[in-house]
């Protein structure tokens, strides 16, 4: 995908695709959270806190879990379109979070937060779910967007910052479940 330099058109398409894909998954989780609404608030909070704690232990290496993911790579045919269209399609599939491998733990915490930790008010819940999806899509596009502003191609970002962001998101999800 990024063997060549991503121009502004490709980076924009990529970001739009990632945000769109994330909005699809975010909407699905928002609807599912509505189905879980009959569960009392306290029970939902306890379950969510327990799940996020387990995910945090997994991220810290205290426990080792087989987290569900689709062991599938996005096919090469995706890249046969013209570059902006291919970037949109590829990023859309990545943005959904269910089409390919998940190499971090915090996306699972985000799913738990959206399923069990959304605010009670419908407007606030919709706003929070949309914000989470947009944030996910934008975060997913940081590497490509930052490359479009530079002359050189550098696909990888430092692993320690990716891991820091992973742990930070897990801790923020935990704090959100306790404080909000």
């Amino acid at each position: 995908m990024l063997h060549r330099h991503a121009g502004p058109a490709v980076a924009g398409s990529y970001t739009a695709g990632a945000v769109s894909g994330a909005l699809v998954s975010g909407s699905s989780l928002f609807v599912l959270s509505g189905l879980l609404a009959p569960i009392p608030d306290a029970a939902r909070q306890v379950i969510a806190l327990g799940l996020v704690c387990i995910l945090l232990f997994h991220a810290l290496g205290i426990v080792c879990l087989e987290l569900p993911q689709r062991a599938y790579q996005i096919p090469r045919e995706t890249f046969t379109d013209d570059p902006p269209r291919a970037a949109f399609r590829f990023a859309f599939e990545l943005g959904t979070g269910v089409r390919t491998f998940i190499t971090a733990v915090s996306p699972y915490a985000l799913a738990v937060l959206l399923l069990l930790g959304l605010p009670r008010s419908l407007t606030d819940a919709a706003l929070a779910a949309t914000a989470a999806a947009v944030g996910y899509g934008l975060g997913r596009s940081v590497v490509v967007a930052s490359q479009s502003m530079r002359r050189t191609v550098a696909v990888e970002h430092p692993a320690q910052w990716l891991r820091a962001a992973d742990l930070l998101s897990l801790l923020t999800a935990l704090a959100a479940l306790i404080v909000l």
Binding site: G139, A165, L168, T172
Partner: protein, 68 residues
């Protein structure tokens, strides 16, 4: 009279420190994490769920962005 140039083999070019690309990657990564942390803190302090959810989403998305 002109002085002869030194032979190519005698000239060595040494690069010291990390490359510019590496530095920019480090800075971009650090900036992304700091922005997410500030957003999360602001959202938690001001009790704005949308901001906290945005921060969790952004951090989760960025943590996956290494596998483009």
């Amino acid at each position: 009279m002109t002085t002869p140039l030194p032979p190519q083999s005698a000239r060595t070019v040494r690069f010291r420190g990390s490359s510019a690309s590496h530095r920019v990657q480090q800075l971009t990564g650090a900036a992304a994490v700091v922005v997410v942390a500030l957003l999360a803190l602001a959202g938690l302090i001001s009790a704005l769920p949308a901001l906290v959810f945005f921060a969790v989403g952004a951090g989760a998305g960025y943590s996956l962005s290494g596998s483009v």
